[in-house]
Symmetry: D2
Subunit: 134 residues, 4 copies
């Protein structure tokens, strides 16, 4: 799986003294960046090829400031025009949260979902992981 | 359902010119505030009685700046010590997104989940809604 | 002065149990929205006419969850192509913070600062306030 | 000066396709973390020794996604109980923004500002930089 580490920022905590639940989808988005680049290597904002259709996050343990978090990113399912990214958030060698995000390949010209090309499909397939939650 | 409206803030948009997907869980959290107050009317941060176990958001249509969004909040399921909050995000009379959040009633003294009292259960029951997605 | 109220959102607090200092510039931006609309009534993102050149915020007292904050917005100085927005953040009848933001009127076609029109200047002048900090 | 790099996150951009002005104070806070640790090596949230009294940010050029930003952090002034942190934000070898943040050493027991110890003063002095803006 891809790995990306983040230092916990002070403003990402909340009044319960741990990381706010709202922060995780931002870290997960940042960790999906290599997948965005598969679809749009030049990050062309005017022809953005992916739409986020759903995300779901399971919170297993509290996340605190003081040590970095690592997000591991893989792919758990590949459909015709959509795929599911599976992500794990680790801190201090503990699995703190998991997330699944359904992305749809989209053609802005026709304003419709579009099949994933064979070339990108191969690259996504190389990232396939087995998950218990899927 | 409870209703809470939010003006879209400029910094809540992203480079695709619509609202970032990361913003919705913050709006949903803010709109659940009346439910937090059921459990802790004085908002006692040292004995916070609810843990967020999961959230899942379905994104149906893009959300833009320019008109307010309204979050409607109900309860879709009540268990022994947990319950699911169901929320809809509307803008310009269109359903833009739905979310389900599983909350666990928690006793910080014993560090365990704890049954929901009959009194609070009654209030949650009064907020029950039928949803197609549950 | 213009007035805009905001409920404090839980994720806007930090581990010190009060509102994170990073939140205020977002509230101030949101409260400047009527000024943005003076310059671009249709909010045309492709010809955005204002550049933020500086902000400065004085933090006077801690801000907490539990009661709304109100941002009062006026104009403290008007130059040829720039102006300064002065803002006060009140909570529970106490002045919690003040902010000054320097905005530059910008012409995207020429990529240069541009004089403020007489029409807009009149509207900004109507918002002039005296401040001790300027 | 201390140096800390950040990847620009997609949700940190706004509808003008560059980084939102509201993001910078968060990056600057994160980059001040080594200074927080000087005052509270164990990050004791119940006796937090620093209060932010003011921040001011000058925006010199637009910041974009696509390459990392680096925040350089030094100290521009040391008073009896307060000091000013000076920070520069660089991207692609260009100075994009500068910030000055006034921090006050605070004693939570007496609820008053407190002199900075000789030991910490020495460490802050080692971080002194000359700035044109001070």
């Amino acid at each position: 799986m891809l790995e990306e580490s983040f230092a916990v920022r002070f403003y990402e905590t909340d009044a319960l003294k741990h990381v706010s639940n709202t922060v995780l989808v931002g870290w997960f988005e940042a960790a999906r960046f290599p997948i965005f680049k598969l679809f749009t290597p030049d990050l062309d904002l005017d022809n953005w090829p992916l739409i986020l259709a759903n995300y779901s996050v399971d919170f297993l343990q509290q996340i605190y400031m003081g040590s970095d978090v690592t997000v591991k990113t893989g792919v758990s399912r590949i459909g015709n025009s959509s795929f599911v990214v599976y992500q794990e958030l680790w801190q201090d060698a503990k699995l703190k949260a998991t997330g699944s995000t359904t992305m749809v390949h989209f053609d802005y010209k026709t304003q419709r979902s579009a099949p994933i090309s064979a070339q990108i499909r191969d690259k996504l397939s190389a990232m396939l992981v087995e998950t218990q939650s899927e």
